[in-house]
């Protein structure tokens, strides 16, 4: 949303008749100019854009910086191709036009389309670049069309002379199937120095790419924020569920080695079931409550999953090195102290009254519903089983170091 006055320098030299950009170089350039004008005026209503041509009989200003998009588009009609591009004069005239802009608060920017060979010396180009930098004018260079030796070098030198804190850019557009405008949309020339794409650019990108690319879930957050939010929330829930399921699978593999097997797995399953209960309620409530439940489910997931990943790591390491196994077990004894506090949390959650009070606050759940009651019973039994297994695990670990010492 930077307040900017832009002058666009168009190359209408003989080299623009070539058809290597569809339909012709000049048409591709005109389309790109239209898009740029639209993007600039949309990103800030007070932005102004002007146009000048560099070839033909001489450098000619078609329209001085104005915010009237119609005037700009109208002047693009009836442009004639011919002559040779005069880059130095073009940039200098653009700088003069910007100097006399009406609103002195606007930042100055020049966008140059460079499609034909540059006949000036590199030194002259660099001097022009330095003068632009001195007067804090930013410069965007679009290099397309004819490539002769030295052109890229001169343009890079120009960019280096002008560039002040990355406000100036250069884009090289090779010939190919994609249009000039499509290539430009993804560049900083459109997206404006890392502020994030303007709405215009994003919408144009979506239209150009045929609808779905560029947005998550195929929905424009600008158009339908609630739908986009709901889609994102459900994606995260699904991912959390899948992660929990994956952890459960690795858990079972690990626990079978240690002889613990099911309880942690079902503990995990209980947690995911609770997450499922919570998430099934998402559809019935508004988004704010949904996110709250989501956060609750996630926080219940996290302490347990942290505990379980510690267990998995331990089992893998223990297989390799007995001394390492000893050290790990000593550290896990500290860990079980943590897990005992976590089991306090799960005890709290298993407390029938607490859980039923939470569930009562969910509008779609009736605590007297038999399926809910079954779930609560299973939760309670699981926590009892888990508590007993934790204590047995502690006993096992106390035994194993003694065995190792022997």
């Amino acid at each position: 949303m930077v307040l900017e006055a832009t002058m666009i320098c168009i190359d209408n030299s003989e080299w623009m008749r070539n058809g290597d950009y569809a339909p012709s170089r000049f048409q591709a350039q005109a389309d790109a100019v239209n898009l740029i004008c639209g993007a600039k005026t949309q990103s800030n209503p007070e932005n102004t854009v002007g146009i000048l041509t560099m070839a033909g009989k001489g450098v000619r200003v078609l329209v001085t910086p104005t915010s009237d998009l119609g005037k700009i588009l109208a002047c693009m009609h009836g442009l004639e191709i011919g002559g040779e591009m005069n880059l130095a004069s073009g940039i200098q005239v653009a700088q003069l036009a910007l100097k006399h802009r009406q609103n002195k608060k606007q930042q100055q920017r020049i966008i140059v389309f460079c499609g034909s060979p540059i006949k000036h010396e590199k030194k002259l180009i660099e001097m022009i670049g330095r003068k632009l930098k001195k007067n804090s004018v930013a410069l965007d260079i679009i290099n397309f069309g004819e490539q002769d030796d030295g052109k890229i070098e001169k343009l890079e030198a120009l960019l280096a002379a002008v560039n002040n804190n990355d406000t100036s850019h250069i884009v090289h557009v090779p010939t190919g199937s994609s249009a000039l405008s499509d290539v430009l949309i993804n560049t900083p020339i459109f997206t404006g120095d890392g502020e994030g794409g303007s709405g215009f650019a994003a919408a144009a990108a979506a239209a150009a790419a045929g609808g779905l690319s560029g947005f998550d879930f195929g929905v424009d957050p600008n158009l339908d924020p609630e739908l986009a939010l709901a889609l994102r929330v459900s994606m995260e829930e699904e991912r959390a569920r899948q992660e929990a399921a994956a952890k459960k699978a690795t858990e079972e593999a690990a626990k079978q080695e240690k002889g613990e097997g099911q309880p942690s797995g079902t503990q995990d399953a209980m947690m995911t079931e609770r997450a499922n209960v919570a998430t099934s309620e998402v559809d019935n409530k508004d988004d704010e409550n949904a996110l709250l439940q989501q956060a609750l489910a996630m926080s219940m997931d996290d302490p347990d999953s942290g505990h379980e990943t510690r267990d998995t790591d331990m089992s893998d390491a223990a297989a390799d090195d007995p001394e390492l196994a000893l050290a790990l077990q000593l550290s896990v004894q500290d860990g079980t102290k943590d897990s005992s506090s976590q089991s306090d949390l799960s005890k709290l959650l298993a407390d029938q009254s607490f859980v039923s009070s939470i569930l009562a606050s969910l509008p779609g759940v009736d605590p007297n519903d038999p399926s809910v009651k079954n779930l609560l019973d299973s939760i309670q039994s699981q926590t009892e089983v888990r508590a007993s297994n934790l204590s047995s695990q502690q006993k096992n670990e106390e035994k194993e170091p003694k065995e190792d010492e022997k």
Binding site: K99, R130, K134
Partner: protein, 204 residues
């Protein structure tokens, strides 16, 4: 710490004189040809800190000693004198030209326009020199632009401190703040006389 006055600084608080920096609209201060954008804001500080070089200073681009500093004020001020502390090694500015109440001046304008006053500066690393203005011309200053065209031979020009001495008035030069346009007069806005019978008159 020597002063231009012929008394010692303990009696007379010099820093109170150089307090116009408080009336500078710092967010709108700009400079042309500065190497680091935004570094110009660091040269406006209190008199006591004028020599502290810990913060960044204003430096021009390599090989180009010209600098242009635009200073807007929050209210109209009267400027009595200006003090400049430059950098060492020939990077201090050697000339200063001032323009009053014009914004949007760039280098070509500055070179062609007649300045309201010009000074030849000396290297003033200790910050003891001040340059007096023709006070009658600096009576209601809303913004001042300082142009430093040359330096003492260094590759760049460095400025550590710009001090302004003078008075601030409470006036503002840009007159029109809020205007209300009325398409039709609203009598309730124009109750000048006493209530009851003052506004209406009828012909019998």
């Amino acid at each position: 710490m020597a002063c231009l006055h012929d008394h010692s600084c303990e009696d007379h608080d010099c820093s109170a004189d150089w307090s116009l920096y408080k009336h500078i609209d710092i967010s709108k201060v700009t400079a042309l040809n500065e190497a680091v954008p935004g570094s110009v804001k660091s040269v406006f500080k209190a008199w006591e800190q004028r020599l502290s070089s810990s913060e960044e200073h204003l430096e021009s681009n390599e090989g180009d000693p010209e600098l242009l500093v635009f200073i807007p004020f929050t209210s109209d001020v009267k400027i009595k004198s200006i003090s400049i502390v430059g950098g060492a090694g020939g990077t201090s500015p050697s000339k200063m030209r001032a323009f009053i109440n014009r914004d949007g001046i760039d280098f070509s304008d500055a070179q062609s326009m007649q300045a309201i006053q010009e000074w030849d500066l000396a290297e003033n690393l200790q910050g003891v020199l001040e340059y007096q203005t023709r006070y009658s011309k600096f009576q209601s200053v809303a913004s001042i632009t300082l142009h430093f065209p040359e330096n003492f031979g260094g590759d760049t020009t460095q400025i550590q401190y710009i001090g302004l001495k003078g008075e601030a008035t409470q006036l503002r030069r840009d007159v029109v703040a809020t205007i209300v346009y009325e398409l039709m007069p609203n009598p309730s806005d124009h109750k000048a006389q006493a209530e009851g019978g003052g506004g209406l008159s009828h012909v019998e």
